[in-house]
C-alpha cells in the first residue's frame, strides 16, 4: 500500500502544475475510451460467438446514425482538448519580445554550461536557481542538438546549435530537481543528466556571491604542484578557471569545482577517490567522453586532485 502511495506521489509531483491538470483530464477521457473498447471487444466476442460452425447472422449493418453520433462526440472531445491545450500553451510559453534571460544554459557533449547574465556567474553542471520565482531560461548548444528537461520545473526545450530558445523555470520548494538531456546526442547521452538545486532567496544570494569570489589559493606545495601541472599538461586548453588567465570553455569551467556536490553531469559525487579515478583514465569512467586519457603518473594525479578538489 505504501509503495502504491509513494508511486502515485512521485507520479504527480514529477511534472509542472499546469500540465498536471491536462494529464488528469486526458487520463480520464483516454481511460473511458479504452475501457469501452476493451469491454465491447470482449463482450461481443463472448455474446456473439458462433454456436454452430455454419451459422449465418443477418447480413445487416448497424445504424449509420450511430456512426454520425460517434463522429460528433469525437469532434466535441477533440475541440475541448484543443482549447485546453492552447490555453495551457499560452500560459506556459509566454516569452516577452526581447527576452532578458536570468540563466543561459549551453549544452555540450556531455555537460551543461550555465551562465547567469545578471550576476556574471559562470559555472558548469551544478545549476542553482532561486525558489518561488519564475526564471527565464535561454538555451542553446555548442555542438549537436540537446534537450533541456527537468519535468518538475517546466516544459522540455530543444537546444539547437545556431538557435536560441527560451522557457520559464519555476521551483516551488527548495530541493534538488532531477532531469536529463532528452534528445539523443551521442555516445554519452545517457550520462547527460541534470540536477538543479533550488535555493531559498538568501541561499541563492549567498551561492551567487561565493561563485563570484576569486579562487582561494592554498599555499601547500602539493597544491602548487597541481596548479603548475594543470597549466603545463594543457588542461587549460579546455578548462577555464576564473581569476586565472585561462578562460577556455571547451570543457566545464572548474572555478569553485570543490564546492560542487557532483560532477560529470551528475554522474558521480565529488570525492577525492572519484576524481583520482577520473584522472587516471576518463575513458574508463565515461567511455567516449571528450577528455582524453593523459596517462598521468600517480604523483601527478595526487597533485592534480589536490589542486582541483580544493578549488573552492
Amino acid at each position: 500500500m505504501l509503495m502504491i502511495k509513494n508511486f502515485t506521489s512521485i507520479f504527480w509531483t514529477n511534472t509542472d502544475a499546469s500540465t498536471n491538470q491536462l494529464y488528469t483530464y486526458f487520463g480520464i477521457a483516454a481511460g473511458c475510451i479504452l475501457f469501452l473498447v476493451i469491454f465491447f471487444t470482449y463482450y461481443f466476442s463472448k455474446k456473439y460467438r458462433a454456436k454452430q460452425p455454419d451459422e449465418l447472422p443477418e447480413q445487416k449493418e448497424i445504424n449509420h446514425k450511430f456512426e454520425l453520433f460517434i463522429l460528433i462526440l469525437a469532434i466535441c472531445i477533440t475541440a475541448f482538448f484543443l482549447i485546453m491545450s492552447i490555453n495551457t500553451m499560452q500560459q506556459i510559453q509566454d516569452i516577452p519580445e526581447n527576452p532578458k534571460p536570468d540563466l543561459v544554459i549551453t549544452g555540450h557533449q556531455w555537460w551543461w554550461e550555465a551562465k547567469y547574465p545578471q550576476s556574471g556567474v559562470l559555472t558548469a553542471n551544478e545549476i542553482h536557481i532561486p525558489v518561488g520565482k519564475r526564471i527565464l531560461l535561454e538555451v542553446n548548444s555548442a555542438d549537436v542538438i540537446h534537450s533541456w528537461w527537468v519535468p518538475a520545473l517546466g516544459r522540455k526545450i530543444d537546444m539547437i546549435p545556431g538557435l536560441k530558445n527560451y522557457i520559464w523555470l519555476y521551483a516551488d520548494k527548495p530541493r534538488e530537481y532531477l532531469g536529463a538531456c532528452s534528445e539523443f546526442c551521442g555516445i554519452e547521452h545517457a550520462r547527460m543528466r541534470i540536477r538543479v538545486v533550488a535555493d531559498t532567496e538568501e541561499d541563492f544570494k549567498k551561492w551567487t556571491e561565493s561563485q563570484l569570489e576569486p579562487v582561494i589559493t592554498q599555499a601547500t606545495p602539493l597544491f602548487d604542484k597541481g596548479k603548475a601541472l594543470f597549466e603545463q599538461k594543457t588542461c587549460t586548453n579546455c578548462h577555464g578557471i576564473n581569476g586565472t588567465p585561462f578562460s577556455e570553455n571547451i570543457g566545464p569551467n572548474l572555478t569553485h569545482f570543490g564546492s560542487r556536490k557532483r560532477f560529470l553531469s551528475d554522474m558521480k559525487p565529488v570525492t577525492r577517490e572519484n576524481l583520482k579515478e577520473w584522472l587516471t583514465n576518463p575513458q574508463n569512467v565515461k567511455p567516449g567522453v571528450k577528455m582524453p586519457n593523459f596517462i598521468f603518473n600517480p604523483d601527478e594525479i595526487e597533485a592534480l586532485t589536490e589542486y582541483i578538489y580544493n578549488l573552492k
Partner: protein, 552 residues
C-alpha cells in the same frame, strides 16, 4: 457456365508466364506471387534480426548501470533496431502481402509492371543487406533511425555507418516508390472489368491509397538523404549549423516523410483488419464508405501534421497550435475506424480463430497506441513527454500492437491461400498469448517510465531513481515472452510447411476474389472469374437468393 466471365488478357504475354522454370526461378522471377513470398521471407528474416537487437537492448536495460555492451555498440544497435523494423521488416511484410494479394483481390493475373515489381523487391533487399554490411566496415549507423543532424554529420559521427544508412535507405526508398507505382497503376488498370473502385476490397483500397502515400512521402526522404550524403561525402553544408547550415531543416524533411510513413505502415494493417473481422464475424463490414473515405482524409492530413514531432524544437505557439489542431483532427477518422470494426462484430456470429484473436488484440492495443498518440497532440503534454519512454511505448503500441498484430492476423488468414496449408491453430494460440501478454508486459509500463522521467535512447540509467529499475526489469522480462511467442510462430511455419497441401480454395468461406482460385493459385491466377456486382462477389455466387445490393 454463364456464371463465370472470362478475364481479358494483356496484348503481350505475361512476363510471369515466360519465366523459365530453372534453378534460378526465384531469383529471376517476376511473378507477383513469388515476389510476394520473397518479400515475406525477407521481412521475417529482418524481423528476427531486429528482434535479436531488441533483446540485446532489453538485456542491457534490465538493470541500472549495466555494462553488458558498450555505449557505442548500444547506439548502433538501437539505431539498427529502429531502422530494420520500420524499413526492412514491417514495410516488406506489408508490401509483400500487398504484392501477393492485390492482383488476386481485383481479379488480375499480374501486377501492372511485373519487372518493376521485381526491381522494387531487389532494391529493398539490397538496401537492407547493404545497411547490415556497415557492421563489417567499422561500425553501424549510430545516430538513431531519425538520424538527426548535426549528430549524423562527419564531425560527430566518424565511422561510415551513417553513409551506409543513407545509401541503404535511398535504395529501399526507390524500391518502395516502385512498389507504390505498381500498386496505383495495377488498381487503376487491371481491375476485373465489372469491378468499380467502390467495390474494391478494403485491403486493396488501403493499398491503393498507400501507393499514393509512398509516391509522395519517399521523395521527401530521398531528397533529405541525398543532401546529407552530399554533406558527408563532398563536404557540403546543408545540415551543419557551424558552417551556415540548418539543423532543423533535416527534421522538417525527415518528419514530412516520417509522419506519412506512420500511415504507410498503418493503412495496410487497417486493410487486413477490415478483411478479417467481417469474414470471421460472418457479416459485411460496418461502414465501408466511412472507412474508405476516411482513409483518403487520413492520407491527405498525414502530410500536414509533421510538426508534432518537433513541438519541443521551440517553434512559436501559433505554429504549434496549428499543428496540434491538425494532429487532433487526424485522430478522429482513425478513432472511428475502431468503432467500425467493433460494430462489425455486433450481432455477428464470431469464429474465434487465431487470426480473429490477433485482430481483437489489435483493436485493444492499437487503441492504446492511438490514445497515447493523441496525447502528443496536446502540446503541453508533448512538451513533457516527447523523447521519453512514453514515446517508445507509444511507437511500439502503434507498430507492434497495431501493424505487426495486423500482419500476424493477415498471415494466419491468408496462409492457406499462399501455401495451401493451414497454420496450426494450437501453436498459433501459444504464439498469440505469449506474444500479446509479453508485449503488454514490456511496453505498458514504459508509459510510466516516460512520465517518471526516463529519456529514450539511453544506454543506461542511474541506480538511485525510484522504480526505474523494477519497471525496466519487468519490461525486459516481457521481452522474453515475446521472443518465445516468435519461436512458436517459427516452429508453426516450419511444421506447417512440412505437411502436405490440404487447404480448400476457400477455407474461411470468405467473399473476396482471391478465394475464387485454387490454394495456392496457379502461375496464371485466374482463367475465369465470377461476376462482380457488389463488394462480396463470392457471397453473391453462393447466395443467389439473398445477394448484396448491386453497385453497377
Amino acid at each position: 457456365m454463364s456464371l463465370f466471365i472470362d478475364i481479358p488478357e494483356d496484348d503481350d504475354q505475361l512476363p510471369a508466364l515466360n519465366t523459365g522454370r530453372g534453378k534460378l526461378i526465384w531469383i529471376s522471377s517476376v511473378d507477383h506471387k513469388q515476389l510476394g513470398i520473397m518479400y515475406l521471407w525477407l521481412a521475417l528474416f529482418f524481423f528476427l534480426i531486429g528482434g535479436i537487437e531488441a533483446m540485446i537492448i532489453r538485456a542491457q536495460l534490465a538493470s541500472a548501470d549495466n555494462d553488458l555492451i558498450s555505449p557505442e555498440l548500444y547506439n548502433q544497435i538501437f539505431t539498427m533496431h529502429g531502422t530494420t523494423m520500420i524499413f526492412l521488416a514491417l514495410m516488406p511484410a506489408l508490401i509483400g502481402l500487398a504484392t501477393y494479394l492485390l492482383p488476386l483481390m481485383i481479379g488480375a493475373n499480374e501486377m501492372a509492371f511485373p519487372r518493376l515489381n521485381a526491381f522494387s523487391f531487389w532494391m529493398t533487399c539490397m538496401g537492407g543487406f547493404l545497411m547490415y554490411f556497415s557492421f563489417f566496415s567499422g561500425g553501424a549507423p549510430d545516430a538513431g533511425w531519425f538520424n538527426y543532424a548535426p549528430l549524423s554529420e562527419n564531425n560527430y559521427s566518424s565511422t561510415a555507418g551513417v553513409d551506409y544508412y543513407l545509401v541503404g535507405l535511398i535504395l529501399t526508398g526507390m524500391g518502395s516508390i516502385g512498389a507504390g507505382l505498381n500498386f496505383v497503376t495495377t488498381v487503376l488498370t487491371l481491375r476485373s472489368p465489372q469491378m468499380k473502385l467502390n467495390m474494391l476490397p478494403l485491403f486493396a483500397w488501403m493499398i491503393f491509397i498507400n501507393g499514393f502515400l509512398l509516391l509522395a512521402a519517399f521523395p521527401l526522404l530521398n531528397a533529405g538523404l541525398f543532401m546529407m550524403l552530399i554533406d558527408r561525402q563532398f563536404d557540403a553544408h546543408f545540415f551543419i549549423p557551424s558552417t551556415g547550415g540548418s539543423a532543423i531543416l533535416w527534421q522538417h524533411f525527415f518528419w514530412a516523410f516520417g509522419h506519412p510513413e506512420v500511415y504507410i505502415l498503418a493503412l495496410p494493417a487497417f486493410g487486413i483488419i477490415s478483411e478479417v473481422i467481417p469474414v470471421f464475424s460472418r457479416k459485411p463490414i460496418f461502414g465501408y464508405k466511412f472507412i474508405a473515405a476516411s482513409t483518403v482524409a487520413i492520407a491527405l492530413l498525414a502530410f500536414g501534421v509533421w510538426i508534432h514531432h518537433m513541438f519541443a524544437a521551440g517553434m512559436s505557439n501559433t505554429v504549434n497550435g496549428f499543428f496540434a489542431a491538425s494532429s487532433m483532427l487526424i485522430g478522429i477518422p482513425t478513432g472511428i475506424k475502431v468503432i467500425n470494426w467493433i460494430g462489425t462484430m455486433y450481432k455477428g456470429s464470431i469464429r474465434m480463430t487465431v487470426s480473429m484473436m490477433f485482430t481483437m488484440a489489435f483493436l485493444i492495443d492499437f487503441t492504446i497506441g492511438g490514445l497515447s498518440g493523441a496525447s502528443f497532440a496536446i502540446v503541453p503534454i508533448d512538451w513533457q513527454l516527447t523523447d521519453t519512454y512514453y514515446v517508445v511505448a507509444h511507437i511500439h503500441y502503434v507498430f507492434l500492437g497495431g501493424t505487426a498484430f495486423g500482419i500476424f492476423a493477415g498471415i494466419f488468414y491468408w496462409f492457406p491461400k499462399i501455401s495451401g496449408r493451414h497454420l496450426s491453430e494450437k501453436l498459433g494460440k501459444w504464439h498469440l498469448w505469449l506474444f500479446v501478454l509479453g508485449f503488454n508486459m514490456t511496453f505498458l509500463l514504459q508509459h510510466v517510465l516516460g512520465i517518471l522521467g526516463m529519456p529514450r535512447r539511453v544506454y543506461t540509467y542511474p541506480v538511485d531513481l525510484s522504480y526505474w529499475e523494477v519497471l525496466n526489469l519487468i519490461s525486459s522480462l516481457g521481452a522474453i515472452f515475446m521472443f518465445a511467442g516468435i519461436a512458436a510462430f517459427l516452429w508453426n511455419i516450419y511444421v506447417t510447411l512440412k505437411k502436405p497441401r490440404q487447404a480448400d480454395d476457400n477455407p474461411w468461406e470468405a467473399w473476396t476474389l482471391e478465394w475464387a482460385t485454387t490454394s495456392p493459385p496457379q502461375l496464371q491466377n485466374f482463367t475465369s472469374l465470377p461476376p462482380v456486382h457488389s463488394r462480396r462477389p463470392l457471397w453473391d455466387l453462393k447466395h443467389p437468393d439473398n445477394p448484396d445490393k448491386k453497385l453497377n
